[in-house]
């Protein structure tokens, strides 16, 4: 098997499985630890406060939106693009259809996917620059904070190049863009359970737990 076949075959399986099983494990670990050491969550569990806090923070109805509107809205747009484009981009759906699963769902228009990709990349660049320029954020930042922005941006950048042939004339890049795209996407998937990117699932536990802690005081946070 050549490297290309490995990347589009077994490695893709490894990446998806690592992502799925790893994320499930993170969730399971939260449960097993919290049952022993965070009993307060269960003693005061209230679905009302948990759901209310999800609604406030998954949608822009929270205090940060009024406090820091520009940054917060950019964060929302960033996440929307990050989720929508990879799942609903027509070329990705075509691959799912060709796969053994033969799954098919409606795609978003390619032009929209293009715009969302560009917006996503612009925001990623802004996040990176903000981390470098702002003394506040620089002090907080660790290597992984910078690195993960690059990791998350790379599949989008390479995806854009791939579908538009932007850098096809640049020998080695042009020849291997598909490989770079797949590899960077796989890297991101693999890293999710092991880095702060795991917030995509742990967000729900952390927010829920704190919402219960304030909910027992009688209000939604």
């Amino acid at each position: 098997m050549d490297f290309y076949a490995f990347v589009e075959g077994p490695l893709l399986w490894i990446a998806f499985l690592t992502f799925i099983i790893g994320s499930l494990l993170r969730a399971a670990l939260f449960f097993s630890f919290s049952l022993k050491k965070d009993k307060i969550i269960y003693q005061h569990f209230s679905l009302k406060y948990v759901l209310a806090t999800y609604a406030r923070w998954l949608f822009p109805f929270n205090k940060d939106v009024t406090k820091n509107p520009v940054f917060t809205i950019l964060v929302y747009v960033f996440h929307i693009c990050l989720i929508i484009v990879p799942i609903w981009f027509s070329a990705h759906i075509a691959l799912w259809e060709e796969s053994r699963f033969e799954w098919y769902w409606t795609a978003i228009p390619d032009a929209l996917a293009d715009w969302m990709t560009l917006i996503f990349l612009a925001i990623a660049l802004f996040f990176l620059l903000r981390r470098i320029i702002s003394a506040d954020i620089r002090l907080l930042s660790t290597f992984s904070d910078y690195f993960l922005i690059v990791v998350v941006a790379l599949p989008f950048l390479s995806g854009y190049f791939l579908s538009h042939g932007t850098v096809d004339s640049i020998g080695i890049l042009g020849d291997n863009m598909e490989l770079i795209h797949m590899l960077s996407g796989e890297l991101m998937l693999i890293l999710i359970p092991f880095t702060k990117l795991s917030h995509f699932v742990l967000f729900f536990f952390s927010r829920g737990a704190t919402a219960i802690e304030f909910g027992r005081r009688g209000y939604t946070m």
Binding site: L29, F30, F31, S32, F33, S34, K36, K37, D38, I40, I41, Q43, T53, W57, N62, K63, D64, K67, N68, F71, T72, V75, S134, A135, D136, I137, R138, L139, L140, S141, T142, D145, K196, S198, H199, L202, F203, F205, S206, R207, G208, A209, T210, A211, E213, F214, R216, R217, G218, Y219, M221
Partner: protein, 425 residues
């Protein structure tokens, strides 16, 4: 106390306490910085990045990473951050998109320092007093009972039939105070007695330890003593067979008894814990206390972190202020999202070593009060009231900070039969 830090001891303390929440918080914090301009220390230090709440808890991650191999100098740095740069007000917890409860991690670090004998002098003294005398100010039982009796004698002339019942079995409410009330502010006890008398309340004061509801051990991470203090109070309530334990206008006492006690004790006591704000609010709402004439001067109200954000009494606090005022002016961010005054989390009883930081970090509160144009500030917390009085001097606010009970006793209607007869003069 040796100079050497035993890494094993550090890890033995931390490991069993690193629950799912702490672990998750340390691993998912995105370092986004949204908690920065929420913190009053950040806002009053020319936005010093080191004051960002997310940065202050880096120690916990570092200590775990180093497997506890830190020295006393390092722990001293931790001390300066967790005591001089945080009141554990939990405002940042409300603004973190992930709901990371930074104050809880600061609290864990304080507990860790306590195990190494690193505790602010002012707080340590109170802990010793709790252990020896059952209250933070080393008041003896005799002095406490005498003070209460004296309060009764003093108020008898003002209100006919007033009683300050000590150890009355089967009373509905057991009222608990801050130890500084018998020490320095007996008028607080007299005022609440008047409110109870006019409201026709069935209440009592315990003579044995448990009458001081403050719990400064909670702020220096001494969970053992913190538990002992709440245990005392609930034991008295049990003996006196009361239904409710009422807490004076003190913030952290309420938080400790109402929200932390069940965790420390391992069970939920059957007596309901109720704060003065709620009690007074309900008296006026239900017509048990009638306000004769509202305060004419502009007023505002402080939102003590442990009663409002951490106590859930935001609405009642504001309404109570409105019941008493003709011209009530809410502060910016009134309610759960209000800014800490800078006196909480043990900062006030820490005394001199904290004064500079306390006055500096309180500038936001001073500005907030000034913006309202209020002349009277209701402050239902002993720590906040001292801090706000200090802020008034420091920033020349020209305000009067008072407890609710002072305003209520001055402005409530006294039923005819309770007014002493003039002809006896």
């Amino acid at each position: 106390m040796s100079e050497e830090i035993n890494p094993k001891e550090i890890m033995n303390f931390l490991k069993p306490r690193m629950g799912a929440r702490f672990k998750t918080w340390l691993s998912i914090c995105a370092h986004c910085g949204l908690c920065s301009d929420i913190c009053h220390y950040y806002l009053t230090s020319e936005k010093d990045p080191r004051m960002i709440p997310a940065y202050k808890v880096r120690f916990l991650k570092e200590i775990l990473k180093k497997k506890g191999k830190v020295d006393r100098g390092y722990l001293q740095k931790v001390y300066e951050t967790v005591y001089y740069e945080c009141n554990m007000c939990r405002r940042c917890s409300l603004y973190c998109p992930f709901g990371i409860d930074i104050a809880l991690m600061i609290s864990l670090l304080r507990s860790l320092l306590f195990t190494q004998g690193i505790v602010p002098e002012g707080l340590l003294q109170t802990v010793e007093n709790y252990k020896e005398f059952g209250n933070q100010m080393a008041v003896t039982k005799e002095d406490w009972v005498e003070t209460v009796e004296w309060c009764e004698e003093e108020t008898e002339e003002e209100l006919v039939g007033i009683k300050l019942p000590i150890d009355k079995k089967g009373a509905k409410i057991m009222y608990t105070v801050n130890a500084r009330e018998p020490m320095f502010y007996p008028q607080d006890i007299m005022e609440v007695a008047k409110v109870f008398h006019v409201a026709g309340e069935d209440w009592t004061l315990p003579s044995e330890s448990g009458w001081d509801d403050t719990n400064l051990a909670m702020f220096c991470g001494d969970v053992k003593t913190a538990r002992l203090i709440v245990e005392n109070t609930f034991k008295r309530a049990e003996e006196l067979e009361v239904q409710q334990i009422a807490v004076t206008e003190c913030g952290h006492a309420y938080r400790a008894l109402r929200f932390e006690a069940p965790t420390w004790l391992g069970y939920t006591p059957k007596q309901e814990v109720i704060h003065s704000v709620e009690l007074f609010h309900d008296y006026i709402r239900d017509g048990r206390i009638k306000i004769k004439e509202k305060i004419k001067e502009p007023t505002t109200v402080q939102d003590p972190c442990n009663i409002i954000r951490n106590g859930g009494l935001a609405e009642k606090n504001k309404q109570l202020a409105e019941f008493l005022s003709q011209d009530f002016r809410p502060m910016k961010n009134q309610g759960n999202y209000n800014v800490c005054c800078g006196g909480g989390g043990g900062a006030m009883p820490m005394g001199g070593e904290m004064k500079k930081q306390r006055l500096q970090s309180g500038k936001i509160k001073a500005d907030q009060i000034r913006e309202t144009g209020a002349k009277i500030v209701f402050v239902p917390c002993h720590n906040c009231i001292d801090q706000i009085r200090d802020l008034s001097k420091e920033y020349d606010l020209g305000i009067k900070a008072i407890h609710f009970k002072e305003a209520i006793t001055e402005h409530m209607e006294i039923p005819e039969e309770m007014i002493p007869k003039e002809d006896e003069e």
